[in-house]
Amino acid sequence: MSSPILKLIAQRIALGIVLLLAVSVLIFAGTQILPGDVAQAILGQSATPVSLANLREQLGLNDPAYLRYFRWLGGVVTGDLGTAMSSGQDIATSISGRLWNTLFLAFWAAVVAVPLAIILGLIAVRYRNGWVDKLISGLALASTSFPEFFIGYVLVYFFAVKWQIFPGISTVYEGMPFLERMQAIALPATALTLVVLAHMMRMTRAAILNVMQSAYVETAELKGLSAFNVIRRHAFPNAIAPIINVVMLNLAYLIVGVVVVEVIFVYPGMGQYLVDHVTKRDVPVVQAVGLIFAAVYISLNIIADIAAIVANPRLRHPK
């Protein structure tokens, strides 16, 4: 690998870090735009001015916002996410198990969705404008219009209630045997897969189609290569980057889906944790979890960009 590529990658990562910092400011600022403050939120409308003042003092709310921001950021960087107001528990400790649960769920959804989307995308291209293609794009249109909870509850209604194949509530606990755990996440993982599948497939189709219409694919056909070899030798190497890009963007999409899906299946992950604490107006938790979600999202986008850089022959073999 040559140095201009490394330089570009380094630039992209540096840009990502800057972006993440900016996002942390935004998230912090987003929780400061309220009328009233955290102390008011904790103690409620009936709080006496004295107890409010005491709590403000205790939480350091009398300091200017930028000081509080840097204190918070310093904590985040050293792994201290603060304590939850509603329960008084350390946020980092509560999160670690849940983060793992969420990643486990998202991982298996991705393992199913990614290859399936690419294969369906390829089939749609192969039989372009035929009925298979039309059916696939019709389903894609439909499923981008479905709210996540519609897919989720339809699955529950049939697979958990009517046919009783899988549990409708995904209880997982530490030390749960692998197979049981897989059975527990079967429905939420399916729901997540369905949520991202259509979009990913539509974008894969477009990416491959774009490559298939280029002049060098025509050249390959005019050399007498078989359809399979045209795709393998000429279309595929150029389609990898856009496909990786599509996959990464959709994995980022999965993060949003995970929030709703976890609530549907009462799955003990980050998404449910976030929603719970938004309802409780527990600002420190919301900040911490929001930042983690944003960090994952930004990282996936950086990986997508880096993949595009690495796969570009113009950058790999400079003049």
Binding site: S214, A215, Y216, E218, T219, A220, E221, L222, K223, G224, L225, S226, N229, R233, H234, P237, N238, P313, R314, H317, K319
Partner: protein
């Protein structure tokens, strides 16, 4: 005699009919016929030129010899007999065996036709290896020999490069080597030099011609440029709207064309225009103008000075990257010069467009290369032509309609066109409307930026004639920017030759085109193909002598 001829026939196309399905917006799909009943034969080792304007079906016919149709194009009738068998009966498997082995293809844009992900050598030998006609070592040796023959630099190592690391002219030669590498019987050249600059074209053309001669391969050479095809082909077939117009030996076609259409194509550049003596005072002077894009230090214009006289044409000629279009942008104020001045009627023009008064803007009008993007697709022809009348002179209502009708008349279009939208016009009509729009402002100068380059030769000719007539009637001056020397000869009063941002030669047309030349003008002039058999050899020989003399 007939028998002997039959034996040497390589390709025999009989009554070919090719159709395509088009999907006009808002209408049911429609079948159109691209090629009507065309027959041709090609002997082994001979070159047949297919010539015609856009839509003539020449590429479609060329690709049919490989059993290939682009996007929905299909062969619906006739036979394509190659080496004695009808390839259309061979099916997909049959096509695959013949493509890349018996017939190879050289595309117009090699830059797009090479896969950016693979090294050149891998792509050059791919077809040979695929059909198993040689081992990898043999094929690579053959490729290197071809690179040498096509006078590519570093023939031993150029195969290790990726497409984007090689220039356009070189890529076109590598693509020719790729076609020749599998030692086919026939090569289809589809406008192989059209995208190249004229001084690059001549080298590529000579390389292709030598390679064809030495390898005894037969070729279908497709182009719109009769002068180019006259250099390489033994016979020429003229096509129009998918039908055969005339087919004969190269000499007969260019010297004694039998059909009126062929004659029109041959005599396309013969516009008579006698140069006018420059007046005493120019109305527009560009003095020592230097310009660069953005904050870059690369100067696109270096110390350029030219004068334009009332009612006369200054042609600015140069290849891509010469800065000729940038000169237009500097004069119009779109790209304010860093140094130097543009004076108009004896006073300096403001550098920036925004600082110029309306009256100055009115005096300088512009016509663009691509007429279809130079007109707002949501405005009617009447609005497009009428707006300058309204904007500069405040002419409205019936008076405006009357003036629009007069202008349409001037550009030889009826007043019925004023309600049409640009999408409903042909390429030539669009350019005429753009001319009318600029005339509506009654300017002293019209800047014409490659206005005929995107048009077919006959249509372009009509536009040039119209411009010359309008010049006489309206006494308007032109700054005519072009890469095409033939156009320059037929329209200019004075000429500025530009090269890498500098004016290398400037003066009255007769002076500029008369020797002794400077090196670049000599190269440029000697590179323009002439419609004369043997011109290429003469030009190349002259060039070798010149370089030997140095």
């Amino acid at each position: 005699m007939a028998d002997q001829q039959k034996k040497s026939v390589l390709l025999d196309i009989r009554n070919l009919r090719i159709e395509a399905t088009v999907y006009p917006p808002g209408e049911p799909p429609k079948n159109i016929v691209l090629v009507h009943d065309v027959s041709l034969t090609l002997e082994k080792g001979k070159v047949l030129g297919l010539i015609g304007e856009s839509g003539a079906g020449k590429s479609t016919i060329g690709l049919s010899s490989m059993g290939y149709g682009r996007g929905g194009v299909r062969i619906t009738g006739g036979e394509v007999i190659l080496n004695g068998r009808d390839i259309l009966k061979g099916g997909k498997e049959g096509f695959r065996k013949l493509r890349g082995r018996e017939v190879c293809y050289v595309a117009q844009s090699a830059a797009a036709a090479f896969n950016p992900a693979h090294k050149l050598m891998d792509q050059v030998v791919e077809a040979t290896l695929l059909h198993g006609t040689a081992t990898r070592a043999e094929a690579e040796k053959r490729a290197v020999a071809l690179f040498k023959k096509l006078s590519l630099p570093n023939p031993e190592t150029i195969g290790e490069r990726f497409p984007h690391q090689v220039s356009g002219g070189q890529l076109q030669r590598v693509m020719t080597a790729m076609a020749l590498c599998s030692e086919p019987d026939l090569i289809v050249f589809d406008e192989p030099t059209t995208a190249l600059d004229v001084t690059t074209q001549i080298d590529v053309l000579a390389a292709i011609k030598d390679a064809i001669r030495d390898t005894h391969v037969a070729a279908l050479y497709i182009t719109h440029d009769l002068a180019v095809v006259a250099q390489v082909s033994d016979e020429i077939m003229v096509l129009r709207h998918g039908r055969l117009v005339e087919w004969g030996g190269t000499r007969q076609i260019i010297k004694e064309p039998r059909q009126e259409y062929t004659n029109a194509l041959v005599s396309v550049h013969e516009i008579e225009h006698h140069e006018q003596k420059p007046g005493t005072t120019p109305f527009l002077s560009v003095k020592n103008v230097t310009a660069a894009y953005g904050r870059s230090h690369i100067k696109v214009l270096k110390n350029v000075s030219v004068d334009i006289y009332p009612g006369q044409t200054l042609a600015v000629v140069g290849e891509s990257g010469s800065g000729k279009s940038t000169l237009a942008r500097a004069i119009t104020g779109l790209l304010p010069p860093e140094e130097g001045t543009v004076t108009f009627d004896g006073r300096p023009l403001a550098n920036r467009l925004a600082d110029r008064p309306k009256e100055d803007l009115r005096q300088l009008q512009m016509i663009y290369q691509m007429a279809d993007v130079a007109m707002n697709p949501r405005q009617t022809v009447g609005t497009i032509i009428g707006r300058p009348l309204e904007f500069y002179f405040g002419i409205r209502g019936r008076e405006r309609d009357k003036r629009v009708a007069e202008l349409l008349d001037k550009i030889e279009m009826g007043k019925g066109f004023s309600d049409r939208y640009p999408a409903e016009l042909s390429g030539g009509q669009k350019q005429r409307v753009c001319i009318a729009r600029s005339l509506a402002a009654k300017p002293k100068l019209i800047i014409c930026d490659e206005v005929t380059s995107a048009l077919d030769p006959l249509v372009a000719n009509g536009i040039l004639k119209l411009l010359l007539e309008l010049q006489k009637e309206e006494n308007v001056a032109y700054l005519f920017i072009t890469h095409d020397l033939a156009t320059v000869k037929s329209i200019a009063d004075s000429i500025a030759v530009m090269y890498r941002g500098e004016v290398v030669r400037y003066g009255a047309k007769s002076k500029v085109l008369t020797p002794p030349f400077d090196a670049y003008t000599d190269l440029l002039l000697s590179s323009v193909p002439e419609m004369e058999i043997g011109w290429l050899e003469k030009a190349i020989k002259g060039r070798r002598m010149a370089s030997a003399g140095n």
